[in-house]
């Protein structure tokens, strides 16, 4: 069992945990993820590691309630424990000096870019972060990112805070600004967002890396459930990734495969919630669609 040493709500339905996992904390690098399981009947789900503190032996996880498992996880409090935490898994981010690296995070994907910002800064980059949320209360990790970033650009759909619009709009501004000289873009978030980011950077021919989040079971290459198509080749996100060249990823296929269990997930969630209605999953999908459409228009 892996004890939770702190738990707090960062935004509606978004929770941050510090979890005692000394072995994971010791070996964590930017880009790594863990697989967790909640309860003896729980499923295994991948979560990215937002931070680690090897000295204290803890890792930080950021979790959004999107289904039965994440809801059970977010119901846990300080002092309780997560049944299983295994990792760090995946290959770490390839950290290079790109000159100016722009990180784009959407939703809990913002937690993925946080350790990347730290590592890229340490490697000598100018680092900017573009982070998005529906409105001000959904913008997370702004203060934390500011520790390592030369600039942080929060974006909100409703204009309640920062840039009024999607992250893609702000990113395009940076790419078009000759003073910014963007050398690389690293992105993590919902699939439609990453797909839109890839389309925004493609005409600028800027290296773009996306952290993918396909369906996974074991996380060690054994099941092949996380297979994605990159440059026409089958790759396993857990052992070959999770980060890939965003211009080569078949995002349409990834998005479609992520819906494989929508029917069962709905049932499980209803069971877990005593059929209480919840729309946040649907809502974020609608938002992602709007973002994609907006990017297509740009």
């Amino acid at each position: 069992m892996f004890r939770i040493c702190s738990a707090e709500w960062l935004a509606p339905k978004v929770r941050r945990f510090e979890v005692e996992a000394p072995r994971v904390a010791k070996h964590h690098k930017a880009g790594h993820f863990v697989i967790v399981r909640v309860g003896e009947s729980g499923e295994r789900i991948p979560l990215t590691i937002a931070r680690s503190d090897a000295a204290r032996g803890v890792i930080t996880l950021v979790v959004q309630v999107v289904g039965a498992t994440t809801e059970a996880l977010c119901a846990l409090e300080k002092g309780e424990a997560i049944t299983n935490v295994v990792g760090p898994l995946g290959k770490p981010t390839d950290i290079e000096d790109f000159g100016h690296a722009v990180l784009v995070g959407g939703g809990v994907g913002t937690a993925v870019i946080y350790p990347q910002a730290e590592a890229l800064k340490a490697a000598g980059n100018k680092v900017s972060a573009v982070i998005g949320g529906r409105s001000k209360e959904y913008v997370i990790f702004e203060k934390e990112l500011a520790q390592y970033c030369d600039a942080v650009y929060p974006c909100t759909d409703d204009g309640s805070y920062g840039y009024h619009g999607f992250v893609t709009g702000k990113l395009k501004e940076l790419l078009e600004d000759p003073n910014e000289k963007v050398g690389a873009v690293l992105t993590a978030g919902p699939v439609p967002m990453m797909r839109a980011i890839a389309e925004v950077t493609r005409p600028f021919d800027v290296e773009t890396i996306a952290s993918l989040n396909p369906i996974m079971v074991d996380g060690t290459g054994m099941c092949g459930g996380c297979r994605v198509t990159v440059g026409g080749e089958m790759k396993f996100a857990c052992v070959d990734g999770p980060e890939f060249d965003a211009h080569a990823v078949d995002f349409g296929e990834l998005a479609d495969r992520l819906t494989s269990y929508r029917k069962q997930e709905g049932l499980a969630w209803n069971r877990a919630r005593d059929s209480q209605a919840c729309d946040s999953g649907e809502e974020s999908r609608c938002r992602a669609r709007a973002m994609e459409e907006a990017a297509a228009k740009q």
């Binding site: 072995r23 295994r44 935490v85 295994v86 990792g87 760090p88 898994l89 092949g224 198509t229 052992v239």
Partner: protein, 480 residues
């Protein structure tokens, strides 16, 4: 009893659940011998002086010895003899391909039916598990620490053998439950989890430490285990690894699984029972599984139990070439699995929403023998046809997992990524040994156990006498 009398006894049949009933549940198919049948079967053994059967056993069980004790109704002695050579007899009694090992070499197989060694092994193991405490007395500790990577059959066997010699053993398991392929791969109806759990528990009470949720190569590297964690030797038995896909169009459609994923969802995660598990699995009335080995059989029989009718198995060669155990093929057939032999998938077809709707196959015929000695299947031009299905499962093999090897500098692997070992199962790194599927590239439970047992001898020699193993010695020599 005279040999002529023994020869007259017919082979005792294994009682089985009714095929119609078992095709709808996950209860164990083979029910095990009744006491009288076990003794009668034991009396069929001719107690050959030069017992050929032992040579057919990868862990070298004293087969005539335990069978004789069983014939004398001395189950205690039978269990002692069996357990002396085999750490997991309840497992092997159920899943070994006896017909190509011990039972194939039995003299009685030449004229009629071999002695039912596997069924008796299971009987004695089950009796011991349920009727007597573990009589193990720990030897004095040697003070040596050994790390074992993977808690599958090779790792558990090696752990047991090393603990018998007084070494402190820690087994690292990547999943949340020990057992490796015995719990994620082999279904309940063939090997109930409680059998594996009991055998794992025995090792724990003998002092073997098993730590789950640790992926060697990620959570720790091999050099760290040796240099920082204080292990004197390491045995790598992390298994076969990554499932192979055929590289045909349509493999990214929803409803396509590797057998590993499908079986893991059901066996390890319990997805067949939605009231007891949060893990989903896609059910369909029509399922096709591709392959001819035990994994394919496990997949198609699991699909049948999840309600598929028809559950179809396609295999590119003919039934004679199938590598699966004969009993699995028989059971699958009885349970209503449809066999399409000499048939190879060429494309998976999807509907407008991205779900599998059918698999397009081509008929094959057998040509000249290939490198494996089996006749090579050749496609028959123009014979394509479709089999409707909503789930398609590929069970055509695995390739080596790169997680551990790519983080272990100096560990020699072959062109397929499998670890290279010498005759002592030593790798190119001193003190590091390997066995099971990460070396063999996909074999059986019992061969992995044989590797675990043989490697335990080598590790013991290495720890007590400093024999580093030929490969490391050669490496050291060439370095000087």
């Amino acid at each position: 009893m005279k040999p002529s009398e023994r020869m007259k006894i017919p082979r005792q049949e294994m009682p089985e659940l009714d095929a119609g009933v078992r095709a709808t549940n996950f209860a164990e198919v083979n029910r095990g011998f009744a006491p009288a049948a076990a003794c009668t079967e034991a009396e069929r053994c001719l107690q050959c002086k030069d017992a050929k059967c032992i040579a057919g056993c990868p862990v070298g069980i004293n087969i005539p010895g335990f069978v004789e004790a069983l014939a004398n109704d001395d189950l205690n002695t039978a269990a002692d003899i069996l357990l002396a050579d085999n750490m997991l007899p309840g497992v092997t009694g159920r899943v070994c391909p006896q017909e190509t090992q011990c039972e194939e070499l039995c003299v009685r197989a030449k004229k009629g039916w071999s002695v039912g060694i596997g069924h008796m092994e299971r009987y004695v193991a089950d009796w011991a598990r349920m009727n007597r405490p573990d009589l193990f007395e720990p030897p004095p500790p040697t003070g040596k620490k050994v790390a074992i990577v993977g808690s599958g059959p090779a790792g558990l066997t090696c752990a047991g053998e090393l603990s018998k010699r007084g070494h402190a053993v820690t087994v690292f398991e990547a999943l949340h439950k020990p057992g490796g392929v015995l719990v994620y791969g082999i279904p309940e109806f063939r090997l109930p989890n409680e059998v594996v759990e009991a055998e794992v528990e025995t090792l724990r009470t003998r002092g073997v430490e098993i730590i789950c949720d640790v992926v060697i190569g990620q959570t720790y590297t091999i050099p760290e285990l040796m240099d920082e964690e204080g292990f004197d030797a390491v045995f790598i038995a992390n298994g076969a690894g990554l499932p192979i896909f055929q590289n045909i169009p349509g493999e990214q459609l929803k409803g396509v699984y590797s057998a590993n994923e499908f079986l893991t969802r059901v066996n390890l995660m319990g997805a067949h029972d939605a009231t007891a598990s949060d893990t989903p699995v896609i059910r369909a009335s029509e399922i096709v599984v591709c392959g001819g080995g035990n994994t394919a059989m496990d997949g198609v029989r699991t699909a049948r139990r999840l309600g598929a009718n028809p559950a179809t198995l396609v295999y590119r060669r003919s039934r004679e070439e199938m590598p699966a155990r004969a009993e699995e093929v028989k059971h699958a057939e009885e349970e209503g699995v449809v066999f399409q032999m000499l048939t190879n998938p060429v494309e998976i077809l999807g509907d407008e929403s991205g779900w599998v709707r059918a698999v397009r196959c081509i008929r094959m015929e057998l040509g000249e023998p290939d490198a494996s000695g089996r006749r090579r299947p050749v496609p028959i031009e123009g014979s394509e046809f479709e089999i409707p299905c909503r789930v398609f499962i590929e069970a055509i093999g695995t390739r080596a997992n790169p997680l551990l090897t790519q983080t272990t500098p100096g560990l020699e692997v072959n062109k397929w990524g499998n670890i290279v070992i010498d005759e002592n199962n030593a790798t190119s790194i001193a003190g590091v040994f390997a066995g099971g599927d990460i070396v063999r590239g996909g074999a059986t439970v019992i061969l992995a156990m044989g590797d675990g047992k043989n490697t335990a001898h080598s590790i013991h020699d290495h720890l007590m006498n400093g024999i580093a193993g030929a490969a490391a010695a050669v490496a050291a020599e060439s370095a000087t």
